[in-house]
């Protein structure tokens, strides 16, 4: 088993147009998808990320506000899963509700072992 990282981007614009009822339904879809991963023992960890942040560079001398990216380019959350291959991790990701949004996308990266 290998560990893979999903980086989620986009989807916020769609959410902002939803009614309370739809927001809840959207959340429930995520719940179902994550539950599926958990039941197969493939879910490790994951959380959403806030938009606020800092950028630190130049040996710590330069600190700027926030991620540089905006809108659909900003990482909105991450998830770590177990999978046998990058292909399997890719297949698994296809059930994610973020893909229902036009601008929602997932970057999948293999976490390298030491």
């Amino acid at each position: 088993m290998q560990k893979y990282l999903y980086l989620f981007r986009g989807g916020d614009a769609r959410m902002a147009t939803m009614s309370p009822e739809e927001v809840q339904a959207h959340m429930a879809e995520w719940g179902v998808w994550m539950q599926g991963l958990a039941e197969k023992g493939q879910l490790i960890d994951g959380l959403p990320l806030r938009a606020e942040g800092k950028q630190v560079s130049k040996g710590g001398k330069v600190v700027t506000d926030g991620p540089f990216a905006e809108g659909a380019e900003i990482v909105g959350g991450y998830l770590m899963v177990n999978a046998t291959s990058l292909d399997e991790a890719t297949e698994l990701s296809k059930g994610c509700p973020i893909l229902d949004a036009d601008d929602g996308h997932i970057e999948i990266r293999e976490i390298s072992d030491m």
């Binding site: 009614s19 309370p20 809840q24 959340m27 959403p48």
Partner: protein, 417 residues
Amino acid sequence: MSSPVVNNTLDHLFRHEYGKLVSLFTNRYSPHLIDKIEDAVQEALYKAAKIWSYQPMPENPSAWIYRVANNQLIDFLRKDKKKADWDDHATSELDKDAQSLELPEESTLVDDQLRMIFACCHPAMKPSEQLMLSLKLLCGLSIKEIARALLKKDEAAKKAITRAKKKFKEEVGELVVPKGDEIKSRLAEVLQVIYLLFNEGYKATEGEKLIKQDLCEEAIRLAFLLTNEPSCDKGELQSLIAMMLFKAARFPARMDENGNLLTLEHQNRSLYDEEYIKWGWKFLKESSLHEGSSVYQLEAAISAYYTTAKNYEATNWKVILGLYDSLVKLKPAPVVQMSRVVVLSKVEGPAKALKVMESIEPQIKGNQSFNALKADLYAATDDWSKARLYVQKAISESLNIAERRFLEKKLQSWIGK
């Protein structure tokens, strides 16, 4: 207040949380700030949904949403304070946010919603505006959902709600439950809006079944909320609740698998919701302890007889006719007159009913359901050519597909008779 009828589960958590929190903040700050309040609550719901997409909901999700919305709103208001022309009340409330860290008790939340019901049904607004505002602010429906539920265009619903909100900001002032003599007329208006809301949901019109049923549930929920207000005249309210419960009990049996409308006669009564019926009886009994018979009470009793008859043939038409005789005096509306005619035809035969129809026709001209009823009565007297003529008229006047489909099926079965 708790009743098994009102859905307190996760079913509509976000929708109801919206109404609850908007009521709370509007009470605490000011109706002037309604737009900001709505934004803050909406934003808190997004945040909650985002977190809970990844991890399980906390034990008390309402408290969590409240805290986020409250912080958001206070932030919002602090920044806005200088430029906005605030009233003193809101300013002083903002200064004592220590008291507002925790979600208030259920009873306070109920009181806030009660005051909000009266505010949404403020006499400065037209009934249709009161209805839409209640749906938006108290029931947490979006403009899109309201448009869908009331079969309006998005744009039209949006305009109407904006207009109503403007009045809400200008006219409502501090949120209170009216006192003394005023409560009587105001309560009548509130009940009227709830009745309207229920009927919008109950109307057998095309549209999404689910959202229609939601309207009925919301109407019942608001009426239940009102039972918490001691100064409300209970008789009318209980009657209205009973009527809604008896009708809503039939929901599961109103359509066949293909989405075709089923009339009472063809509904599978074993599908009726027993829990609703049980509670319907309870409220009807309680309402009868109060003086006089109101329109709502007569309508509740009529629905009770219809819903609880063993089968269609066993319906007690005589008693129902008696109830309609009283109802038609209090409320001579076309729909009541026509319903009475239907019952009359059961008791005294279709020929007599057709005669009565002639006498009321001048008041109810060119009405689609009037012609459909006429067709049925002619069919019952074996006058098939007239029956076909009137059903065709009704089909041509029909406004929605379910109804038209229903009438066309009828016409087909009458061809060749």
